[in-house]
Each structure stands twice: as C-alpha cells, then as structure tokens.
Amino acid sequence: MATDEQLALTRALSGDGGLGVEESTLVSIIGKWRKKPEHISSFRKSFNRLFSITGHIEKCEDDHMQKLVMEFSRFHQITVLWAMHPHERDARWANQVIHKNHPSSILVEIASTRSAEDLLGARRAYQTLFHHSLEEDVAYQVKDSKSKLLVGLVSAYRYEGQKVDNDVAKSEAKALHNALKTAGANKIIEIDEVVRILSTRSKSHLKAVFKYYKELHGKYLEEDLSGDALLQQTVLCLDSPASYFSQVINSAFKEGANHAETEGLSRVMVSRSDVDMEEIKEAYAKLYGAKLADVISKKTRGYFRDSLLSLAGEAKA
C-alpha cells in the first residue's frame, strides 16, 4: 500500500501521466526523507514505472529515465521559447518539420494562422538562421503529394483587408465543390484550384468562400475534405484558428498522447499567449465543456503548470 508521500512523489515525478514535474514536492520530500533511506528504498519498490527489481537493486529503466528528462525539461523548453523572438520560434519549428521530420501539420499551422507580416518575418528569420529561404527548403525536401499545398501556404503574403468580392467567393465555393466531386482517383490535396484558393486568397475572402460553400452545398467544406487531414486542418486554421488551437491543446491531455502532441501544448500556449488566448479559452470551453485553466491545473505539474497558467492569463492554482 503506497503511502501518501509515495503517491505524492509518484505524481511529482509525472508517474500519473501528468505533464511536467512538481518541483516543490520533490524538494520537500528530499528534505523529509533525509537520513531515512528505507523510505526511498520503499518508494523505488512501489514506483515500478521508473524502477524494476534487477539483481539486488531497483534499476532505473532507460526509457523512463528519458521520459523524466523530457518532463523536467518542459519548463526549460517553454521558458526558452517564450524568451525567443516569435519569428525565430516559427523559423525553428519550421526547420524541425523539414529537417527533423516533425509533423507537417506544424508547418500548416504556422503558415495559416500567422498574420501576413508575421509569416514574412518567420521567413526572414529562417533565412538569417539557415541561409536558405523557407520556400526553397520546403520545395526541395517535400517531394510527396503535400508539396504543392505546403509550398503554396508558406509562400503566402495575403491581402489582409476586409474587402471581399462576393461573386468571386461564390464562384470559388462552387469551383471547390466541383473540384472535389470530380477528383476521382486523384488526390484532392494536389488539385490546383484547391491549392490556389486556399493558399492565395485573403482570410476574409476565404471565410466568405466557406460560408457560401455551406449555403450552396449543404455541408461544411471540412466535412467534404474528411479524406485529407492536412487539408481539413488548413481550412480550420484559416477559418477558425481558436478552434484549431483548442484541438491541439486537447490532444496533449488525452491518454497516451505522443511526444509531438504534448509538445503542441507548449507550442500553442507560448505562440498564442499574446495573440488570441482569450478566443482560444472561449473556444476550448465550447468544444470540451471545461475551463482551460482547470484542465491545465489538473493535468500538468509544477513550474510547467504555473507557466502555462501565466501564459493563459490565469492566476496560479
């Protein structure tokens, strides 16, 4: 039977699936168990996610040691990201997609949710850091069906005004519908008209296109794009970034979330804290029926938790 302290220590070391470590608990228990090695020996026996009895010792498991490194470094990572220039952040994340095989969805996220000036800024930072343009690296490294869409999205320097030509928006809604219907065996992500409209039109214009699409055809464009996750994500990022970001945050908290998904939490909280965090909190509450601050408090630990709450504009739990 695990004692209260053992349970607290387990939680503090992220043994319950929470993200981050509870630094204050660790320090306190280290103090309490000084000169009481039987306590910590007993803890090692009880915490078999991290330790397994091998020979006469409870050996530390390698993969759990790796996981601990990760959990301890969440606060470090989020702090460094927070301190960095937003354009450098975006440039580094983009570079990780291209050269470290991080998911393309991150590139779509950056290209579609940043303002025209911020996306341009990220491209400039990319040039400063890597001595290539982002466009040339994406075009060179991405050779599959995603290429057209990704190159188109990262090259965008969209008009940011409100002016929309409703006739053009209607006809482009029809053109999209047509393109999807007649795609046949072809991958919709490679259809020129789809890529053109999504990667060049202003966001105001696109919102009108999406609206007309639903009016004219009875379904949301995203529903008809269900065969292609990246395209669906593109539409969501362009139409309702707050909903998109809520989904990314939520994925980080689910059971068995992988590394990319948990990193998404830090990425979104840092990059959106100064931009649209209020809208994201609203969207999150609508989508998941819970306050973001509450979920953060429950599912994350220590300084990591506190920094997330600060980024969310909330007081400490």
């Binding site: 491209r123 343009s133 466009e135 040339e136 090259s155 320097y157 008009y159 060049t200 202003s202």
Partner: protein, 313 residues
C-alpha cells in the same frame, strides 16, 4: 546607372507645376514643355510636382495629362510619372488584367528585383488593388504559366552569396534530365528556377554549361516557338543576366520588322532611372548603332522625343 538627366539647379515643384499648367493651357498642348519638365525629374521630384499641381490648381495632374495627350506618348508619360515601386505594381496589374496575362512583364518584375524590392511592389499592389499580387496572378494565369508565374512571384528568395557546389551539380543534372525529355514544364525546373538564390542558380547554370558544353538558355531553344519555353528563358535571363536580357529585348523590338511600343515603353520607362546606361552601352556594341539612333528610326513625334529625353539626350 540611370540615364535620367536632371538640371542643376532643379526648379522648385511649384515652378514645375506652373510650367506644366502653361503647357496645358490654350489650344492644344505644348508637349515639348511637358517633356522638358517631366522627363528630367526623379521620382521624388515628380511626386512633389504632382502634389504642388493638385494643391495649386485643384485637379489631379494625371487626369489632366490623360485628357491633354494620347496614344503611345500618353501611355509612356503615365507610366513614367509614378515612382518605380508604384509603377511596377500598376504595370503588373495591367499585365494581369490583359486578355491573356502579359507574362514578360510579370517575369521581369518578379525576377529582376531583390526580395525586398519585390516585397515593396507587393505591398503597394495590395494597397492599390485590395488583392495580393500572388492571388491575382494565380487567378488570372492558367496552366503551366500559372505554375511558373506564381512560383516566381510568390517566393521570398534568400539573397545571400553562399553556394553549395554539390547541390549545384545535382540540380544541373535534374535540369538536364527534364530538358532531355522535353518536359519543360516540369515541377523541378520551376522549383529550381523560382526558389534558389541568384548565386546558387548561377552556380547551377555554370555546372550545366560545364557538363554539357551548352548554356541552359541555348539548350532550351526549341525548333518550334513555344511561349512557355520563351517564358522560361526570359526568367532564366532575368534572374542571372538582366542587362543582357533587356538589351536583347530592345534589339528585338528595334531591329525587327513591326513594332511593339508597349514593350519599348516598358523597358525604357522601367530602366531610365535604374540601369539604362549599362543596357545602352551593351546595345551599342551589339547593334552597331546607338540606342538613340535606333529609337529615332522606329518612333516619331512626341513619343520619340519623350523616349529620347529619358534615354539621355
């Protein structure tokens, strides 16, 4: 260097506005007086004249000019008056709204400007037309031209000097593979041409020439004239040897039969305050006559006088 010549000392904007006003008044227009002012002022001075004229006479200078003169002369003066950035945005828009997109204009603007110069054109384009240059190019051009023009216009290219020799060799080979198969519209050709930095691209073309004893533009000459290949060659030349490119454009216009005033106007007006001097010098060695002589032979009247004034007469 520019061929534009400005008097020293230069009259004030108010004096110039008055001179123009005088040129418009009475019967007809004093075109010589117009040219004497407008063709000899730089972009900042022309802007001040526009402002002074409007303040003084409560009408827009451009509107007045449009009603006073016409034809090729009017089109040339209209394009000349704007500063280089606004001019290119306007000319891009005209090229796009043409029945068939006037691709040389878009290629020139996309390829000869530095990344930041092209960005400035795009910003002015957006404020003038409430669309991005990219979206208008993409929605008006079709097929292979759309692919090429959009890629050239859309990339914010790296302007650095670094060269990766291995990459240059690899990409020279990729180009050769596509060209040998006659796949001129290949995504790889377009990718390399539109995304690589100028230095890297030049290195790639040098490797190509070393490997095949043929320059890439010669390799792209097909027996049957093909607009798309013409566009590719224009893009290659604009990206690597713009002076030679414009010299050739001028020579084609001025030494062949027929006459394309719009193209002549475009080259002269877009380069008079930039690098027409180098283009002129090269023209003279290639054409065995001065640019002035060639222009005088094929144009006449006020249009001729205006062009000659810009060329440096």
């Amino acid at each position: 260097m520019a061929t534009l010549s400005i008097p020293n000392p230069v009259p004030s904007a108010i004096e110039d506005a008055e001179k123009l006003r005088k040129a418009f008044q009475g019967w007809g227009t004093d075109e010589k007086a117009m040219i004497a002012v407008l063709a000899h002022r730089d972009a900042a001075q022309r802007k001040q004249i526009k402002i002074a004229y409007e303040e003084q006479y409560k009408e827009k200078l451009l509107k007045r000019i449009e009603s006073e003169i016409s034809g090729h002369f009017e089109r040339a003066v209209y394009r000349w008056i704007f500063d280089p950035v606004e001019r290119q945005a306007i000319m891009a828009n005209i090229a796009i709204k043409n029945k068939v997109v006037d691709f040389p204009v878009i290629i020139e603007i996309a390829c000869i400007n530095s990344s930041n110069e092209l960005l400035a054109v795009k910003q002015v384009y957006q404020s003038l037309y409430k669309h991005s240059l990219e979206e208008d190019v993409a929605s008006h051009a079709t097929g292979d031209f759309r692919k090429l023009l959009f890629a050239l216009v859309g990339t914010y290219r790296y302007d650095g000097e670094e060269i990766n020799t291995e990459l240059a060799k690899t990409e020279a080979k990729i180009l050769n593979d596509a060209i040998t198969k006659g796949e001129y519209n290949s995504d790889e050709i377009i990718r390399i041409l539109s995304t690589r930095s100028k230095a890297q691209l030049q290195a790639t073309f040098n490797c190509y020439k070393d490997a095949h004893n043929l320059s890439i533009t010669k390799a792209l000459s097909t027996k049957t004239p093909n607009d798309f290949v013409i566009a590719l060659r224009a893009a290659i030349r604009c990206r690597t040897t713009p002076t030679k490119y414009f010299e050739k454009v001028l020579r084609n216009i001025l030494q062949k039969s027929g006459m394309d005033e719009d193209a002549l106007t475009r080259v002269i007006v877009m380069h008079a305050e930039k690098d027409l001097k180098e283009i002129k010098e090269l023209f003279q060695t290639r054409a065995n006559m001065t640019l002035e002589q060639a222009v005088a032979k094929k144009t006449s009247g006020d249009y001729e006088n205006f062009l000659l004034a810009l060329i440096g007469n």
